[in-house]
C-alpha cells in the first residue's frame, strides 16, 4: 500500500489557531482523525464540508465521491468501512431522512460509520438555515432501537474535538456515531485551535477490514459472511438483545455532559448544542441578579446522561427544570423518557427552527419563577 505512509503523515506540524466555519472545522477534524474517504451529496447547510474536503483531500491522498443521492452516500460509507477504511459522510434535513436506511444497516451490522448532521429546519424541506429538529431522527431514526452514539456540539472547538473522537468511538465500539451540529454552527466563523490527536495523547483506533481479509480461504482463514437478515424471529431477538446489552454496558464509558451551578439551584436550564451557549449566558446573568439558576447540558444525546441529570436534580433541590430547544419538544421527549419518575416540574421554551438567545431564556425564567 503505497498510500499508507501518506495517511500516517501529520496534518499539521504544531497546534494551529484558526478562525473558520464549523463545516471547515469538520473537514480539518476528519483529516486529523485520519479519515480516508468521504461520500456525500449536496445539501445545505453541510455543503462546505464537501467543498473543503475536495480541496484538501487530494493533498493528503484521500478519496471523495459525490454520489447520486444520500441513500448512496450512506451505503457507500457502509461499504467502505466494511473494507476497513475510515469513511464518513455529512448531511442534513431530508438527506438525514434518506440516510436513516443506511444508518439502520450500520446499526444492524455494527458498522463503524461516522456521519456529521448539520440540522436544518423541518418538516420536509423546511428551511435550509438552522434548527434542532433532527434530534429524534438522529437518535432514534430507522427501524431499530437507536443503537447509536450522538454527540451534540456547541462550539467549533467541540466540532473539531468530537469529529476526532467520533471516528474513534465508531471504530472502538462499532456503533454508528454522529456529530450533531446545525446550520449556525456549520456556517458561522469563530476561533478554535486545531491539533494532531497524537500530540494531545489521543490514540487513534486502528481500522480493520470486515471483508476482503488477507490470507487464503480454506487454507488459513474462513470466508466472512456478514448477515443482515434473519429467518426466524428468535434469531433476531437474540441478536437485538445481545446488541442492546452491549450498548447498555458501554454507555457509561461514552456518556458526556456539562454541568454548571447546579448545587443550590432553584431552576435548572437544560439545553443541548448551540442553544447551550445562550443558556450559559443566561445562567450568569440570572445569578448576577440573584436568581439561582443552574445549567445542565447533555453532550451525548445517545446515550443520554440520565444518571448524571438525576443526580444534578437531587443535589440542587431545584423545583423546576426548563428545557429550551429550537424544536417543538424533541429534547423534551428524550429527557422525559430518560428521567422518568422524577417529580421536578418541567417547563418548556420551544422555538422550532429559530435561534434562542440568553434574553429569551431569561424572560422565560422570570415568567415561571
Amino acid at each position: 500500500m503505497g498510500g499508507a505512509r501518506k495517511f500516517m503523515a501529520k496534518i499539521m506540524e504544531e497546534p494551529r489557531k484558526a478562525f473558520i466555519t464549523g463545516n471547515e472545522a469538520v473537514t480539518w477534524g476528519a483529516l486529523a482523525a485520519g479519515a480516508e474517504i468521504m461520500f456525500g451529496y449536496p445539501i445545505t447547510p453541510q455543503n462546505e464540508v464537501m467543498h473543503y474536503w475536495t480541496r484538501l483531500a487530494p493533498q493528503y491522498g484521500k478519496g471523495f465521491l459525490q454520489t447520486e443521492d444520500e441513500l448512496s452516500a450512506g451505503f457507500t460509507v457502509c461499504g467502505a468501512v466494511q473494507g476497513g477504511k475510515k469513511a464518513f459522510t455529512a448531511t442534513a434535513g431530508p438527506g438525514n431522512v434518506l440516510m436513516q436506511e443506511p444508518f439502520g444497516m450500520a446499526e444492524a451490522m455494527r458498522l463503524p460509520l461516522f456521519a456529521v448532521i448539520q440540522q436544518r429546519g423541518g418538516p420536509s424541506s423546511g428551511t435550509v438555515v438552522y434548527s434542532q429538529q433532527e434530534v429524534t431522527l438522529t437518535t432514534f431514526g430507522g427501524n431499530g432501537e437507536g443503537h447509536r452514539i450522538v454527540y451534540s456540539t456547541a462550539s467549533h472547538q467541540e466540532i473539531y474535538d468530537y469529529t476526532i473522537k467520533g471516528f474513534n468511538t465508531a471504530w472502538k465500539y462499532r456503533f454508528p456515531t454522529f456529530l450533531l451540529g446545525d446550520g449556525y454552527q456549520a456556517k458561522m466563523r469563530e476561533p478554535l485551535e486545531m491539533y494532531n490527536p497524537e500530540d494531545r495523547g489521543i490514540k487513534m483506533i486502528e481500522t480493520y477490514p470486515l471483508i476482503g481479509l488477507p490470507g487464503h480461504i480454506g487454507d488459513n482463514r474462513e470466508p466472512q459472511h456478514l448477515c443482515n437478515i434473519y429467518s426466524l424471529e428468535e434469531e433476531l431477538y437474540e441478536v437485538v438483545m445481545k446488541v442492546s446489552a452491549e450498548y447498555e454496558k458501554i454507555s457509561p464509558e461514552i456518556v458526556e455532559y456539562e454541568e454548571k451551578e447546579c448545587e443550590n439551584a432553584d431552576i435548572i436550564i437544560l439545553t443541548h448544542g448551540v442553544v447551550s451557549r445562550a443558556a450559559d449566558d443566561a445562567v450568569k446573568a440570572l445569578r448576577a441578579q440573584g436568581i439561582k439558576a443552574g445549567y445542565f447540558r447533555p453532550i451525548t444525546l445517545r446515550p443520554f446522561p440520565q444518571k448524571q441529570l438525576r443526580e444534578a436534580i437531587a443535589k440542587s433541590g431545584a423545583k423546576k427544570l426548563l428545557i429550551a430547544e429550537s424544536a417543538y419538544g424533541q429534547l423534551d421527549r428524550l429527557t422525559k423518557q430518560e428521567i422518568y419518575g422524577e417529580t421536578i416540574k418541567i417547563e418548556n421554551l420551544f422555538m422550532p427552527g429559530v435561534g434562542i438567545i440568553d434574553y429569551d431564556i431569561i424572560n422565560k425564567i422570570k415568567s415561571i419563577l
Partner: protein
C-alpha cells in the same frame, strides 16, 4: 445415502448446501456458473460478493468468499463503496430485477454513468419472487402476477424494462454489458467471465442480466417453465453481448 455428490465449485461454501432456492429456480444455475468462473479466474480470496434483498438474499452465505448482505436495491452503492476504498478487491453485486431496475435504479444508472469498476449480476425472472410474486419492471405484457392479476397492461404500467439496452447507452466503450440466460449455460459462463475480467483489468462497469426461471410464482410445471423462458422471455429480452471491450459482441 448412497447418493453421488455432484461436483461443486471450490468457491462454494458447502455448509450452506443444499441451497435454499425453490425447485426449478434459476438462481442455482447462475450461482453455479459464477462459482465455476470464480474458480477458473482464481479470485476466491479477492472476491467480495454482495447480495441484495429479494430471493438473491438467500445467497448471502452461498460462496466461500467474503460476502455481505445489503438492503433492497442498495447493493450497488455498497459495492461502489468497497471498490472505491479497496480497488484490489473484485466486487460482485448480485440482485434481482426489482432491486436493480426499480428500487435501486438510480444507483444502477448512476454507477453505470460513472463507469464504476464493479461487476453487477441481475437475475431477471419477471417478478418479485421473495415477496410473493408481484409485478416487476420486467413483467411481460399480459403476464399475470399478484399485483397485475388480469395481466400487465402496458397502457397502465408501461413496457418491461430493458436493462442492458439502457445501460449500454449510458456507458463508455470500456464497459461490459450483456444479457445471458440460464438456458445457455456455456454462454452464461462466458459472459460472467468477461464481466469479471473487465473489472479485474480495471476497464469499467460490468453488467450481466441473466434471464431466469420462477416456477413457484409463475405457477408452471417444468415444461411450461422452460417454454416461458425460451418462448416468451427470450424474444422480448434478446440474448447477447451489447458492449464488450474484448472484441465483437457475441449475439
Amino acid at each position: 445415502m448412497g447418493m453421488i455428490a455432484p461436483v461443486t465449485p471450490k468457491s462454494w461454501y458447502l455448509p450452506s448446501k443444499p441451497h435454499k432456492f425453490c425447485p426449478g429456480c434459476g438462481h442455482g444455475i447462475v450461482l453455479k456458473a459464477l462459482g465455476e468462473t470464480i474458480d477458473e479466474l482464481e479470485i476466491q480470496d479477492k472476491v467480495v460478493f454482495g447480495c441484495d434483498i429479494g430471493c438473491s438474499l438467500l445467497a448471502w452465505n452461498f460462496f466461500a468468499c467474503d460476502s455481505t448482505q445489503t438492503h433492497h436495491g442498495r447493493t450497488t452503492p455498497v459495492m461502489v463503496g468497497i471498490k472505491r476504498s479497496r480497488p484490489e478487491l473484485v466486487t460482485i453485486g448480485y440482485m434481482g430485477d426489482g432491486g436493480g431496475y426499480s428500487i435501486g435504479s438510480q444507483h444502477l444508472l448512476n454507477s453505470a454513468v460513472r463507469n464504476e469498476k464493479i461487476t453487477l449480476i441481475l437475475v431477471n425472472n419477471t417478478n418479485y419472487g421473495m415477496t410473493g410474486g408481484q409485478m416487476a419492471p420486467t413483467t411481460l405484457p399480459g403476464q399475470k402476477t399478484e399485483t397485475s392479476p388480469y395481466g400487465r397492461d402496458p397502457e397502465l404500467t408501461g413496457y418491461p424494462t430493458k436493462g442492458p439496452e439502457f445501460i449500454a447507452e449510458l456507458t463508455p466503450a470500456s464497459a461490459y454489458v450483456a444479457r445471458a440466460t440460464v438456458a445457455k449455460y456455456k454462454q452464461l459462463k462466458r459472459f460472467l467471465r468477461n464481466a469479471l475480467r473487465n473489472q479485474m483489468e480495471g476497464n469499467g462497469f460490468s453488467f450481466v442480466e441473466v434471464l431466469s426461471t420462477c416456477p413457484t410464482n409463475w405457477r408452471t410445471n417444468a415444461q411450461q417453465t422452460w417454454n416461458f423462458l425460451e418462448e416468451e422471455m427470450e424474444p422480448y429480452f434478446p440474448i447477447g453481448e451489447l458492449k464488450s471491450p474484448f472484441g465483437k459482441g457475441d449475439k
